[in-house]
């Protein structure tokens, strides 16, 4: 592909479309009331979305949007409602779970009575024709899709652990299509990053002999700034002996220290069972702040053209909660 084939700015269209896709998905996954409130705050009437859609659908000869479900009566049997909704995982519960940075995705929805009704549509100018399709309801379908997505993510986790990056990434992508909301969970995001880094690293290793690893001067400031959000974070750096890893270690330790982290360092023989390349390990019982720091470190290294594996889980409570091993190339 040559530069002549490219129209200036045309690639930006794709970027805008990617952002649009994510924004629309984000809007969809918001609780209905929150979405309506946000629209109103921006001067939009949420009901107009239904009215206009119905006008277009009717004009083109399609069935119009189904009437919004009638809100539940105010006096209900909590036990009945709870039982009715037990298998469902309301969308906003997932958002709360993600916000609380919990890794575990499954279960937990049983005690919550969902109040996530779609908005009523009272101002439609086109008669509403119920179009209840045969078969499972949209909510049932969504629930089945979430269950499938959970399964796919479990499979992906096993594949990532075995460093089968392309399979891991593909299964995460499949899961994302079924349950985009599930991507908000921190554990899933971490797995995606891990697979992404693994793929790139694999490609780099396959295509070219590794050069001498250095922290490029132009990337150093960005790297340091990226660590600033985790100031005070303790990190233990394990460095293989030898000119190349030792020099890289010097650079990294200096930069990470400049970022406000508390770094300790150990030098060990290169053949002391060290992994090749770089590896970030985090104690499996590490707190949220340490996990966030591990992610920041991995991202910073990636943006400095230095790819590290991980963050991988290490044994809980053993040594430093966060460790970076700079092994031989």
């Amino acid at each position: 592909m040559t530069d002549d084939d490219r129209k200036p700015g045309a690639g930006w269209d794709l970027v805008e479309d990617l952002i649009a896709e994510e924004e629309i998905q984000r809007g969809k996954t918001m609780p209905a009331e929150e979405r309506r409130a946000e629209m109103k705050a921006r001067g939009l009437d949420p009901d107009r979305a239904d009215a206009i859609a119905n006008e277009v659908l009717a004009k083109l000869g399609y069935e119009t949007a189904t009437a919004a479900p009638v809100p539940a009566p105010k006096v209900v049997s909590l036990a009945v409602e709870r039982e009715k909704r037990r298998p469902a995982r309301p969308t906003w519960v997932i958002a709360l779970v993600a916000a609380a940075a919990l890794v575990v995705l499954v279960g937990g929805g049983g005690a919550v009575v969902a109040v996530n009704w779609p908005s009523p549509s009272s101002t439609t100018s086109v008669p509403q024709v119920p179009t209840g399709p045969p078969g499972p309801s949209p909510e049932q379908l969504a629930q089945e899709q979430r269950a499938k997505a959970d399964e796919l993510r479990k499979v992906a986790a096993v594949e990532c652990a075995a460093e089968k990056w392309d399979k891991c990434f593909a299964h995460l992508g499949d899961a994302s299509k079924l349950d985009p909301q599930g991507d908000e969970a921190r554990g899933v995001q971490r797995l995606q990053s891990k697979a992404s880094r693994g793929l790139v690293l694999e490609q780099l290793e396959a295509k070219e002999a590794p050069g001498i690893r250095v922290l490029p001067p132009e990337a150093k400031a960005i790297f340091v700034a990226g660590l600033a959000t985790s100031k005070g974070q303790a990190l233990h750096v394990v460095c293989a002996q030898g000119a190349e890893p030792s020099h890289l270690c010097d650079q990294l330790v200096a930069a990470i220290t400049k970022g406000g982290w508390v770094v300790t360092r150990t030098n060990v023989a290169a053949d002391a069972g060290l992994p090749h390349g770089m590896l970030i390990e985090i104690a499996s019982d590490a707190d949220d702040a340490t996990q966030a720091a591990a992610d920041a470190l991995a991202t910073g290294l990636e943006w400095s053209y230095l790819f590290a594996r991980g963050p991988n889980d290490a044994a809980p409570g053993g040594g430093a909660p966060l460790r970076l091993t700079v092994g031989p190339q």
């Binding site: 592909m1 084939d5 490219r6 200036p8 700015g9 045309a10 690639g11 930006w12 269209d13 794709l14 970027v15 805008e16 479309d17 990617l18 952002i19 649009a20 896709e21 994510e22 924004e23 629309i24 998905q25 809007g27 969809k28 996954t29 979405r35 309506r36 629209m39 921006r42 001067g43 939009l44 009437d45 107009r48 979305a49 206009i52 859609a53 277009v56 659908l57 004009k59 083109l60 399609y62 069935e63 119009t64 949007a65 779609p118 908005s119 179009t131 399709p133 949209p138 392309d166 990434f169 593909a170 992508g173 299509k177 995606q192 697979a195 992404s196 793929l199 790139v200 490609q203 053209y305």
Partner: protein, 193 residues
């Protein structure tokens, strides 16, 4: 060579839109992000649905647009770009649409040309900034190049670049993240939805 089309029947897309209130509201919300004017956003939203559902158009090809959000978002963005380009559309509120007067085509209209040139320059600058941020990352840059040649689907991009589909997906994710940063860093983009 493009991937084999995976066309969703228009009637099926109509059912999806009819059933999904959250999708409808989110698309209208995204239109507002473009226009920052409620009435214009409603017009843009209506045109988006019409374009997506009108059988005179090709419709939703899942080989190019994996999700309905991607498809509708892309149509909406394209319509918004065309509106910016067209001085006729910019002035249409002042015109009698049943009996439109003769309006110079954008190419012959100095004001329209200026607006269009500014818009093109802005997009071009944003892309160049993004490319600079991605220096040393061949895959996302190759995806941008492919997109500039009209390729879009993950499979066709992977074929063009000579990589795997997951790598294209990863590259797109990086483009999205960095694209957001580039947009946010432009003063004129701050505050956009």
């Amino acid at each position: 060579m493009g991937a084999v089309a995976d066309l969703v029947p228009h009637a099926e897309l109509a059912k999806i839109i009819a059933r999904d209130a959250a999708l409808r509201q989110s698309v209208l919300g995204w239109a507002m992000g473009h226009t920052r004017h409620a009435q214009n956003a409603e017009d843009l939203y209506a045109d988006t649905l019409t374009t997506a559902l009108d059988t005179r158009y090709k419709g939703w090809d899942r080989a190019r647009y994996a999700t309905v959000e991607d498809f509708l978002g892309s149509i909406l963005n394209g319509l918004a770009r065309n509106r910016t380009r067209s001085s006729y559309m910019a002035r249409r509120a002042d015109l009698d649409e049943q009996n439109p007067p003769q309006v110079a085509a954008p190419a012959a209209d100095p004001e329209g040309q200026l607006q269009m040139a500014a818009s093109e320059r802005k997009r071009s600058e944003m892309e160049e900034t993004l490319r600079a941020r991605l220096a040393g990352k061949p895959l996302p840059l190759a995806v941008l190049d492919g997109a500039a040649k009209g390729l879009r689907g993950n499979i066709e991009l992977a074929r063009e670049i000579g990589c795997t589909v997951p790598e294209v997906v990863a590259a797109k994710q990086l483009l999205r993240e960095q694209g957001r940063i580039v947009k946010a860093e432009r003063p004129s983009e701050r505050g956009a939805a």
